[in-house]
Symmetry: C2
Subunit: 343 residues, 2 copies
């Protein structure tokens, strides 16, 4: 198991990346390839104490991606940036997966163009965990594709279901289409077109769900375009925070205010913990020819360690191969959906 890690990616530089890698290498014996400025990485490694030297290698990648610049241009012109080199390693079969806590737009671009899409996958998408009353659900797409067609959504459903099974061990993930109105076919044009074909994909398909059903835990894979998905993801985060602030305001001066705040904080945590990137690791970009994990910029050692574990799970369980197989076996349905949509 060889995992390429963008060792300087993220808001905290090399430290959490190197420490997370060392921890995972020690514990599981994975081969971690640290990609980035060699000097900085080696300085961190020297501080990391004992580690299995044969399990950790370093590849020098001196270029740095400018966060404010256009990700596509950055990746094209900076051949020796950490994420670009990580993607190349996967492409050339020298690594089995890649992980980055750097610029997520650039990571996506590097993966898409450096590794490439799985044959038949039109648009790779980000699968993000969403907190529910019964554990995390998979939200797919969480923001990679702002404009989608029915084929995209059908493929998101398929890939999300495979991921829910591998990452969370759900045997037959319940798949729901996020829409307005529960009746079949209710929603916008995109939902209507998707509904015509989704039942033929051999999924445990529930039907339409509404915004209010997202966090109940009755659905394992919530399918929507990346515009809606990203709004829902950030809306959950924002609402939890605002509720916390409102409670704080209403408790002011209350004799048991301190205890009340503890409860309120636990309420906020109940949401945050269930999707904590430190626990769940990065969100995968599904649909490219190799496991790619996009981590939060604020990932600490634990997040990187957990992302390495998550990447290993995807490799071991042949996530890419399974997606490839399913996409091929339903290609006639995607073709029909595309023809239908084009009128």
């Amino acid at each position: 198991m060889r995992i390429a890690l963008d060792a300087l990616g993220g808001d905290f530089g090399a430290t959490p990346n190197v420490l997370g890698a060392v921890q995972a290498a020690k514990e599981f014996g994975y081969n971690i390839i640290l990609v980035g400025n060699e000097e900085l990485i080696k300085t961190e490694l020297a501080k990391a104490g004992d580690y299995p030297q044969d399990k950790i290698s370093v590849i020098h990648a001196p270029d740095t991606i400018d966060m404010g610049a256009n990700p596509a241009r950055e990746c094209r012109t900076k051949k020796d940036a950490g994420i670009v080199v990580c993607a190349r390693l996967v492409k050339e079969g020298k690594a089995d997966a890649m992980i980055s806590a750097g610029n997520s737009g650039a990571t996506m671009v590097a993966a898409l163009f450096g590794i490439g899409r799985i044959d038949g996958v039109e648009r790779p998408a980000i699968a993000s965990p969403l907190p529910t009353e019964k554990g995390p659900a998979v939200l797919m797409d969480a923001g990679a594709n702002a404009d989608c067609d029915a084929v995209n959504l059908l493929q998101f459903a398929l890939m999300g279901s495979i991921y829910s099974n591998i990452a969370y061990g759900v045997k037959s993930p319940v798949v729901g289409l996020l829409s307005i109105g529960e009746e079949e076919g209710k929603g916008n044009l995109l939902i209507k077109n998707t509904t015509k074909y989704i039942k033929r994909l051999g999924l445990n398909y529930f039907g339409n769900i509404e915004g209010r059903d997202v966090h109940t835990g009755m659905i394992d894979v919530i399918v929507c375009d990346g515009f809606v998905g990203n709004i829902v993801l950030k809306h959950a985060e924002g609402l939890a925070k605002s509720m916390f602030n409102m409670i704080k305001g209403s408790l002011k001066g209350h004799p048991l205010a301190a205890f009340g705040m503890l409860i309120a904080k636990s309420a906020l945590r109940s949401i945050k913990d269930r999707t904590d990137p430190e626990v769940y690791g990065g969100a995968p970009l599904l649909g490219v020819k190799g496991p790619v994990l996009i981590c939060h910029g604020k990932s600490g050692q634990k997040a990187i360690y957990n992302s390495i574990k998550a990447a290993a799970k995807l490799i071991e369980n042949k996530a890419v191969e399974t997606i490839e197989e399913k996409i091929v076996s339903y290609k006639e349905i995607f073709k029909k959906a595309k023809e239908h949509e084009l009128g």
Copy 2:
């Protein structure tokens, strides 16, 4: 001030409608026209005690809308259904506004076809209150239009701003486009097309907002298509409930569990109260030639009473005329946006 009320609309039949009407007529001296089965209405009126008889009139409308059936067909074939008659009264100048807690799809259809759109308004939309840390924001469109173009969104922004001013007294409402990414033009194709023209509408335009900004209170009018709007509205409701359930679970067995649950309940209420239909009354369908308020099916007397107050506010402040004026004065911009979108 003459307000037509669909007196049998809603889950509780005539009682809350008649009581709410009597309360408003007594308190403000509005003329309320109760529309529906005359016998049932008169039975309720007889129970309502003293009321100003010259302020309450009854119009017999015996047809009933079948909730499960197609709203458009129902409204077309049942000329003597309560909402159809209400719309006719507004159309014929015999009422200044209409209110219904009945089937909201049918209310929309009755208003659209019975009263008609304001000249130049392409798609009337529902303005719903959303709870924020600083009072309610206006969400526009909350679900009337699942598929929208840029002209629709531009008009939603304009109408939502006028409504925020009239209904909540916000002097210069801050208008935000709900999108993914805060930078100008970031989002899907619809947002990109809308962004090109929205600055020319003379609004207090903030720019893009993200899902996390919805409840902070920094934005007074949140503009999106009805698909996204309805998902956000129901998502807020569902997340608040799920958080409550998660807190409940985590408090089990805690010595201060009872107090904790009080706090948790107040947290849930903090969200619910701020959009309580009982307090805010119905949500208006903006863009038709007469104030139309769509109430929650579970509206009680207080909700109906408050909706009557809200309708009066829209009449007094000439909401329809103001929308008409603004739509006319920006018609060149709508034309350009339409041409641009059609390529």
